[in-house]
């Protein structure tokens, strides 16, 4: 038990270090996230010219939402994760199969390490810049900070499982870009990344909440800005945990099925 936990930690460190070695890319990424943070913040603030509250957010909550989502983009890696499908295509997956750790577990721990790096260096800097310019809401109690931290870890886990499942399409399809586009579109819209789900027409928001996507962005954000408190906070975290467990199990199941079909050429 302890040994396998040490191994998990080792994978997480590797995930962290892979991104640590490109500081210039990090700096450029922070710049882009910041520019888009300003663009999105001003668009959302324009809604408050004649109104105090839109979709349960006041102006301060709306800008906090904007900068927090900008900080979470890379942390939960919304777009363009194709590592697993490339391993299937190139046959590198053969090495994963002989390792003593299940690839889903190794992938998840590696990804959690990666997300720690991205949260620290791609997430926090743009958020601080945003906080310097706009009135931003910060959690008032240590409990909310703690709940938010747990929520981000669960968000990364859910996002990883969805990315893994979407990549696994490469077991069956020559080209998994189509699936990636559909999943990417659904994630952007239903996670609440583009615009808060409470701004949506009611039925559309209800549909979004039936999917796992809000667990990636909307739930952590709502915990942070204090829209979810008390028993709702427990329900929110439980929802995330439920999706994380269900999707990871699905990821394992799909992997088992996929491997049965797998043909690796050459060697």
């Amino acid at each position: 038990m302890l040994r396998s936990l040490r191994l998990d930690l080792e994978f997480a460190k590797r995930g962290y270090r892979r991104y640590e070695v490109y500081p210039a890319a990090t700096l450029a990424g922070v710049f882009v996230n910041t520019v888009f943070g300003f663009l999105r913040a001003y668009v959302l603030l324009a809604l408050y010219a004649h109104r105090e509250v839109v979709g349960g957010y006041d102006a301060a909550a709306a800008v906090t939402y904007t900068w927090l989502t900008q900080a979470l983009i890379m942390t939960v890696f919304i777009w363009g994760w194709r590592e697993f499908s490339l391993r299937i295509r190139t046959g590198d997956i053969a090495t994963d199969l002989v390792r003593p750790v299940h690839p889903v577990r190794a992938g998840l721990t590696f990804d959690l390490g990666r997300s720690a790096y991205h949260l620290l260096f791609r997430g926090i800097p743009p958020f601080l810049i945003g906080a310097a310019v706009f009135p931003i809401i910060l959690p008032a109690t240590a409990l909310v900070w703690l709940a938010f931290a747990a929520s981000v870890v669960l968000a990364v886990t859910v996002s990883f499982a969805i990315r893994w499942l979407s990549n696994a399409a490469a077991f069956w399809l020559m080209d998994d870009r189509g699936v990636a586009i559909i999943v990417g579109t659904a994630t952007s819209l239903f996670s609440g990344f583009l615009i808060p789900l409470s701004f949506f027409p009611e039925q559309l928001a209800a549909i979004a909440y039936l999917t796992p996507f809000p667990a990636i962005i909307q739930i952590p954000v709502d915990i942070f800005v204090g829209r979810v408190t008390g028993p709702d906070l427990v329900i929110a975290l439980a929802t995330q945990l439920g999706w994380a467990v269900a999707l990871l199990m699905a990821a394992r199941g799909v992997f088992t099925l996929g491997v049965r079909r797998l043909v690796v050429q050459g060697g």
């Binding site: 210039a24 882009v32 300003f38 663009l39 001003y42 324009a46 809604l47 004649h50 586009i181 701004f199």
Partner: protein, 267 residues
């Protein structure tokens, strides 16, 4: 004068033939881009389901801005979107090959590819623009039509100039795609909304110095017969071509200057 144009057409025909070899993949790419492109417009629709106006702008007026900006940007992306990959030619030193060719370097780089799959984005822009024009009930006259068509052409010129200018960063840093994207993709995002919603410092730099305001905002004011909330006189709508020419000249100058700083990787 005619020679580069006919050479360009021949190059485009060659790229087209190449990309049409894989019909299914090609069609899927176009459909995928078409679907994804609607995400940004969905945000606008969600915003207007909460408020009737953004500043002084109605949903159909913003749709006009969006349609013009997107169409100009989609055409730019079709023609020179491959500039995103340009830093690679600096990194591996293949820019050497361009330097020894018997045409100007910028011409060679701009014509290096022609990505027909970007047609999906153009189709999206045309759909939104047609929708906006059909519900706006504009009384058309020769001058309005001319301003609309002129906006598309000058918009393309301005976006190409922005792309070329900022990708030049690659000559010094060997990277630069992300930073350039902040101005290209950031630029079109800014132009999709009425620029009077942004703070003055951002407008000054991002709408006038980087002249994105002249892509859609000023032409749209003229077409809609709307006074400028920022107080520029009506003739501002007519100087877009001049601004585009100045931007192109600036981009050309930056390029020439940057090429002199090229140091081959020795490839």
């Amino acid at each position: 004068m005619l020679e580069p144009a006919s050479l360009y057409l021949r190059l485009v025909r060659a790229r087209l033939r190449g990309q049409l070899q894989y019909r299914t993949s090609f069609a899927l790419d176009i459909i995928g881009t078409f679907v994804i492109s609607f995400l940004d417009f969905a945000v606008i629709l969600v915003i207007f389901s909460n408020v009737p106006r953004l500043g002084t702008w109605s949903v159909s007026e913003v749709a006009l801005l969006y349609g013009i900006a997107c169409l100009a940007f989609a055409l730019t992306d079709l023609a020179v979107g491959h500039l995103d990959l340009f830093p690679q030619t600096i990194r591996d030193g293949t820019f050497d090959l361009i330097l020894v060719r018997p045409r100007p370097t910028l011409f060679m780089v701009l014509t290096a590819d022609f990505q027909v799959r970007r047609l999906g984005r153009i189709a999206h822009a045309v759909v939104v623009l047609a929708y906006a024009l059909s519900i706006l009930g504009i009384t058309w006259s020769a001058d309005r039509l001319l301003v609309l068509l002129g906006a598309i052409v000058t918009g393309v010129l301005i976006f190409v100039a922005i792309w070329v200018t900022f990708i030049c960063i690659a000559f010094w840093t060997v990277e630069g795609r992300e930073v350039a994207n902040a101005f290209t993709y950031g630029g079109v995002t800014l132009a999709q909304y009425p620029i009077d919603i942004y703070e003055r410092w951002m407008r000054t730099f991002f709408a006038y110095v980087v002249p994105v305001a002249f892509v859609a905002y000023y032409p749209a004011l003229y077409i809609l017969d709307k006074p400028d909330p920022l107080g520029l006189p009506a003739w501002a709508s007519f100087i877009s071509p001049l601004v585009a020419a100045a931007a192109a000249l600036a981009a050309g100058t930056v390029w020439t200057w940057a090429v002199r700083h090229y140091r081959s990787a020795g490839g």
